[in-house]
Symmetry: C2
């Protein structure tokens, strides 16, 4: 099936399909062609060119895009979008002066989500989570990573990951799941953190892998959560099951997370609100993609990952939503793109590459998604907003996506 | 024509229709009823009650809202939504380090908008601006104030205000226009600021009023713009034509704007990023509504108006978008509500009242809009988001309005 999209004002984000990531000064590069056509074949991008060409390619279907602009599908590489309910009450507590850590200590935070999720009917949890994923897709995210970690028991972690796989089957976007049993220590293991680590390794991980429910393993390595030593044990155990590592690192302090990520060969180290030169050197000597989560910094009013320092050091950088009910209630990756610029001083082009090709790389999916390149999945969205790479993040707080096209529907 | 809306999960923002504004501790009050019906009659709210009532009122039409929540239409009391084009290029300059004032000095800023607007075809400007107003309405704003001020010549100011009136005729929302010839000094009057003030008073104001194009007069009273003395002259001249005053005050420094507002009996003093005790005392002894514009503070990375101090001093407070291409490219008042909480530490209820009843008061429209009250215009919107007063501003960067109902369509 060949589909020809015509009358496109601009196609943004065309990138050589051998390029696996963009780093340093390269990150400000976005290739755009104007007054264009775009051809897809069996769900993949096939070719593009100018409407001035004397012959347009033949196709089974021709769709005019009436002067709108085309961008590649956005990649949200870090979300916690399966959850029982919004935690706006805790937010109101914070507005009155409580800190995130105080709320966690008072039984709120991740454990509050875990409590609510454990008692929630699986069907209802699935419906709610599916609704959220559909909202994310409407806002242009065509690849979404989803973590467990609000279960913190075998039964509830499996419940979350099964829902992740059900969502994968029931939407046309690309869904990847991550086992995050080590998101917090559940109340049953209070004061026995090492026992919980052993439980994850000996009981939860085998159960998750027996059903093939996870694509990656993740650990919250930070002050008050898991130590670097525990994190390494967990990631090494996961590696034995073939699960690649991702990591929550350096959100609350300089706590060794980046170093563990490098040692474990993690695909990404996410958060990075607190890093210094040592962490940057460590990232430079690794294949770990640094991932910033500006929605969290904005919402918790904590420092932002030093994107400028990272990029100016010649490194790559990705951005994700961290969509979750406690620290980042934002499902719109265009808003994250905007925060990356307004708050981290990334250029619009840099932040665009951070939610497309580099985000794909953080999931090691850069060969199939993340840019408009021949042979990649034909995931893209169209917008009425002119000069979209600059104007979408500038004109913030709304959805600029008029229609989202998913590869699975082009086949 | 009586319309009965049934199966409403919650109706928020019911307020006694004799209440003209909420101040101090009252601002955290929002009256909500659950499991409700809502009756409109000839485009006005008529009554509401519980779905458990034994008899529901008779109506010409019955519409089930299927368990969604109802909020009163939002009131955006300060916008510059008639403009020629986005200024995302200037934003990129700022991301690279230039300040707002440096950009203005380099010919950008308001004068850049004025240059582009003057040469823009009126029909095209109307179409673009109408498109923006429709976006604002989709996001729940049912009353919108629109300022001139990107013309800065008789011809171009009239062009803007005529477009404002055309928009008023062609949408069902409530539109009010404001003459802001004193937004900046145009290049033709460079170095002759007093001459420009005289030109506004002697030539522009009479022309605007002869056609009945403006509902209010506004002046940008600040460092580098108009002095308090010039502002007072301008507002007194407007008063002779029956035009009530609004004012841009204290955005760039403690520059006397609030005092002029009080002296001129202005309906509102907007911005207020830089105010001290003296300004708060001055507001307390006046009928001036203080209006914060957090989109501007967020986007320019300047201080926020001290909402907490103002409310805790027992004063009322309103919020608006300041939607404009240079300093606040945000048309979604729900995002402004969110910024009011996250950045100004207003409670969700306080910020809600700041974009409904108090915003209506800043336009002296509190008798007809701003809350759900018998006899007020039946402007409202519905959302799937549960516990909307807390959750809409929490779950930020998206549009929570599923459908917006305008009074003019209920009649």
């Amino acid at each position: 099936m060949r589909k020809l999209f015509t009358d496109i004002k601009a196609i943004h984000g065309i990138e050589d399909n051998t390029k696996s990531l963009l780093k340093g000064a390269e990150m400000s590069r976005v290739v755009t062609i104007h007054d264009a056509w775009l051809l897809t074949e069996n769900g993949n991008f096939a070719n593009w060119g100018s409407m001035q060409d004397s012959d347009l390619p033949k196709a089974d279907e021709i769709i005019s895009l009436h002067g709108l602009e085309v961008l590649p599908g956005l990649v949200d590489s870090h979300t916690h979008c399966i959850f029982a309910q919004l935690r706006s009450g805790e937010w109101e507590m914070r507005l009155k002066g409580a800190t995130y850590e105080e709320i966690a200590a008072a039984g709120g935070g991740i454990l509050n989500s875990a409590y609510k999720l454990r008692i929630m009917d699986e069907e209802w949890l699935y419906e709610q989570s599916l609704w959220r994923v559909k909202r994310m897709i409407e806002h242009g995210s065509t690849t979404i990573e989803i973590k467990s970690g609000y279960g913190l028991s075998i039964e509830s972690e499996l419940k979350m990951l099964r829902i992740g796989r059900r969502i994968e089957k029931n939407v046309k976007a690309t869904i990847k799941t991550t086992f995050l049993g080590a998101h917090a220590v559940p109340p049953e293991f209070k004061g026995r953190q090492d026992d919980y680590v052993a439980h994850i390794i000996n009981d939860m991980l085998p159960a998750v892998c027996a059903e093939g429910l996870a694509d990656h393993m993740d650990v919250f390595c930070d002050r008050g959560f898991f130590t670097p030593e525990q994190t390494l044990l967990l990631l090494e155990a996961a590696a034995k099951y073939g699960l690649p590592a991702k990591i929550h690192a350096n959100e609350l302090g300089i706590t060794g997370g980046v170093q563990v990520a490098a040692k474990a060969g993690a695909w990404s180290a996410d958060h990075l609100e607190h890093i210094g030169n040592e962490e940057i050197e460590c990232l430079r000597n690794s294949e770990v993609m640094p991932v910033g989560l500006p929605g969290t910094s904005y919402f918790l009013d904590i420092p932002y990952a030093p994107a400028r320092t990272i990029i100016d050091a010649g490194l790559p950088f990705a951005l994700a939503s961290d969509f979750n009910p406690g620290s980042s209630p934002v499902c719109n990756l265009q808003m994250v793109w905007s925060l990356g610029c307004s708050r981290m001083k990334m250029l619009p082009t840099e932040a665009f590459n951070a939610i497309t090709l580099n985000a794909a790389r953080s999931l090691r999916l850069e060969k199939s998604i993340g840019s408009i390149a021949a042979g990649k999945q034909a995931d893209f969205w169209i917008t009425e907003t002119h000069n979209a790479i600059q104007s979408v993040p500038y004109f913030f707080g709304v959805n600029h996506a008029k229609t989202v096209y998913l590869s699975a529907n082009q086949a």
